[in-house]
């Protein structure tokens, strides 16, 4: 896939079909990749496709305001489609390079499974359905699917739905939905007071760095409500109450646009399980409106239109 990507990306730049290529480059830290955004052909040799391509790159074209060739996994392609539905991006400006994705490795899980700290892991290699992990000189074999991000377990569309060039052969959907919803089920099963306590503790950790918001492709407002200071909706300082209000409003704002890419949770430096909030809403809109995000670029976003059959039980 990597060679095909380099070749296709090179052609796109050379032929002037795009101004920029947005893909994944080698990171400066082990087991990480880093977004590579370039208009120079010589940089394309640094493009990679490996089990660590975690970032969702679909936010970048909004800022670049150019014609771009962009590398997407299944979940990312749905974010891209959602942005097209919201008129944030023009499909004509994009050449989508699709990566059929077997799941992205969550390095924290690798560390847990290897009973080691991340810094003690020296090498990880994919060998078929397994990962060969080197920890302090000894080798361990871990099933690949045991260490992918939780979101990957319930991935119904691992092969991008929208693409111009597919870089590999299609990957079947992941049917381990239950595993993907595990954390959410646990939260649902708590009684309300325990759940309140849980979130209070979680949001007490929040330092309001806005990592979750800024990496989120569905958070595309030019001016976020928390950045409005006259009137001020949420205090600028991080109290658990205002942190919670911020996150709940953000959750509602991205409902119907969130493709469950999990970037909010991955970005959070203090480890708040933010994806569970979003994932719950993904389930809600599926149940209520039969809508899945980023499936059809020509259909209107779920909250911009209505059907006579939409549920209205909330009107008492």
């Amino acid at each position: 896939m990597e060679n095909k990507l380099k070749e296709e990306a090179g052609k796109l730049l050379k032929e002037g079909k795009v101004d920029y290529i947005i893909g994944f480059g080698k990171g400066t830290v082990k087991f990480r990749t880093s977004p590579l955004i370039t208009n120079k052909e010589e940089d394309l040799d640094n493009l990679v496709i490996n089990p660590f391509i975690a970032n969702n790159l679909s936010r970048y074209p909004i800022e670049l305001k150019s014609r771009v060739g962009i590398v997407v996994k299944g979940c990312d392609s749905r974010s891209l489609t959602s942005l097209i539905q919201d008129n944030k991006l023009n499909r004509e400006d994009l050449v989508i390079l699709g990566v059929p994705c077997e799941g992205v490795v969550d390095i924290k899980k690798v560390a847990d499974q290897s009973k080691a700290e991340i810094d003690q892991i020296t090498d990880i290699n994919r060998e078929g359905d397994s990962l060969a992990v080197q920890v302090n000189g000894s080798s361990k074999t871990i099933p690949f699917r045991d260490v992918v991000f939780d979101k990957c377990y319930g991935c119904a569309h691992p092969t991008p739905l929208e693409y111009d060039i597919l870089l590999g052969s299609e990957v079947p959907p992941s049917l381990e939905t239950e595993k993907s919803l595990k954390g959410i089920k646990e939260l649902e099963e708590m009684d309300a007071s325990d759940r309140w306590k849980f979130w209070k503790e979680q949001f007490s950790k929040c330092i309001r760095c806005y990592g979750c918001r800024n990496v989120c492709p569905a958070c595309f407002c030019e001016r976020c409500f928390v950045d409005v200071n006259m009137p001020q909706w949420v205090s600028t300082y991080a109290t658990w109450q205002d942190n919670l209000v911020f996150q709940l409003i953000r959750t509602l704002h991205v409902t119907g646009r969130c493709s469950d890419c999990g970037e909010c949770e991955r970005a959070c430096p203090v480890g708040i399980p933010l994806r569970s909030l979003q994932r719950k809403m993904v389930e809600e809109i599926k149940d209520l409106f039969g809508y899945e995000v980023g499936i059809d670029k020509d259909s209107p976003p779920v909250f911009t239109h209505y059907e006579a059959t939409d549920p209205e039980d909330f009107i008492k």
């Binding site: 830290v29 880093s34 970048y60 330092i207 309001r208 760095c209 990592g211 990496v215 600028t236 109290t239």
Partner: protein
């Protein structure tokens, strides 16, 4: 005064003693990320797993949110109640050499023309017990910034982990006083002392990454107007505040008043030059474009701070690299200038 030592299995008892007289903070994972937290009364094994915290130690002196004062509307104008930190002593056990240096670096700012009573009171009331690194992170580059991972003159007492024991070296009077009150401590042998020194020396070799600081001021200045460079390095940045909040030397803050009808409070909180709302309150953020905000952050650390205070405001702790969701790497950004 020679080296002293304590067995690691005695630490729990020691922490128990400390807890009687001080508020004791140790590295813990209890919040799902590593940070200094009040000792839980039980675990004392952090030396076995801890490399560094996610939240930097500045948070214990310059907290993310801090009430500065409360005000109340009385019959004759406002009554003001100042909320200075209390008198109690914090013992911070296990601070890394880079982070201890970071505090020294921001001490200069907080005790400059305006003496910040909130920060300085906490600093004066704290005892820092340093812990040398035996296993630095791959993101560490402290040695390029004149910091040695295995020793520190920026703490009160410095420990080196030599296996079953921590070797302790007094750095300040405060440290000596603390050491004299510790039980379970014995004299270290000359052999153990040279082992600690050797460890302190050899750990430097484990830090393989570096940042190029040669001729940096000149390089920074001549590159300032290089818009193409700054646009290039900032292209992947998501404009969040993670790097500034996890940075042990970033110290920008905002102050806001929260008013009710008759009373209110003044609160100070961390702020970040990376965020678009920065400095919006007094007037406007003059740095609308992302690349200008990013340039500001690096220039502040590597040009303005050295100009004002004679030291680079970076210690090579690598937190910004580790926590950045898109892997922006300060070593690359500065190295490329």
């Amino acid at each position: 005064m020679g080296y002293k030592k304590i067995k690691k299995d005695q630490l729990k008892a020691l922490f128990g003693e400390f807890s009687k007289d001080y508020s004791l903070l140790v590295p813990s994972r209890s919040k799902g990320h590593v940070s200094f937290n009040p000792w839980d009364g039980d675990s004392a094994d952090f030396a076995e797993w801890y490399r560094n915290t996610t939240i930097p130690p500045k948070a214990m002196f310059f907290p993310p949110v801090e009430e500065m004062l409360r005000f109340k509307k009385g019959e004759e104008g406002y009554e003001i109640e100042e909320l200075l930190p209390g008198e109690g002593t914090q013992v911070i056990f296990g601070i890394r050499p880079c982070d201890a240096r970071a505090l020294k670096i921001i001490d200069i700012l907080f005790s400059d023309t305006y003496k910040d009573p909130y920060y300085l009171t906490r600093r004066e009331n704290a005892i820092l017990v340093g812990l040398g690194c035996n296993e630095p992170c791959e993101t560490c580059f402290c040695t390029s910034l004149d910091i040695s991972p295995g020793e520190s003159g920026d703490v009160d007492l410095f420990c080196t982990d030599i296996g079953d024991e921590l070797l302790m070296e007094t750095v300040s009077d405060k440290g000596e006083d603390l050491l004299s009150k510790m039980s379970g401590v014995s004299d270290a042998s000359g052999e153990e002392e040279s082992k600690a020194k050797e460890l302190g020396e050899s750990v430097k070799e484990k830090i393989t990454r570096e940042i190029n600081t040669s001729g940096l001021l000149e390089r920074m200045r001549s590159n300032f107007e290089n818009r193409e460079y700054w646009e290039g390095v900032s292209r992947k940045c998501m404009s969040c505040g993670i790097c500034t909040y996890v940075c042990p030397t970033c110290h920008c803050f905002d102050i806001c008043d929260e008013n009710n009808k008759k009373d209110g409070k003044r609160v100070r909180n961390w702020d970040s030059c990376k965020l678009p709302l920065f400095t919006r309150m007094p007037m406007e953020n003059p740095r609308h474009e992302k690349w200008r905000r990013i340039r500001q952050r690096y220039h502040h650390k590597f040009e303005y701070y050295p100009m004002n205070f004679d030291t680079i405001a970076c210690t090579g702790c690598g937190r910004c690299i580790r926590e950045c969701p898109v892997n922006v790497d300060v070593r690359e950004v500065i190295g490329g200038i």
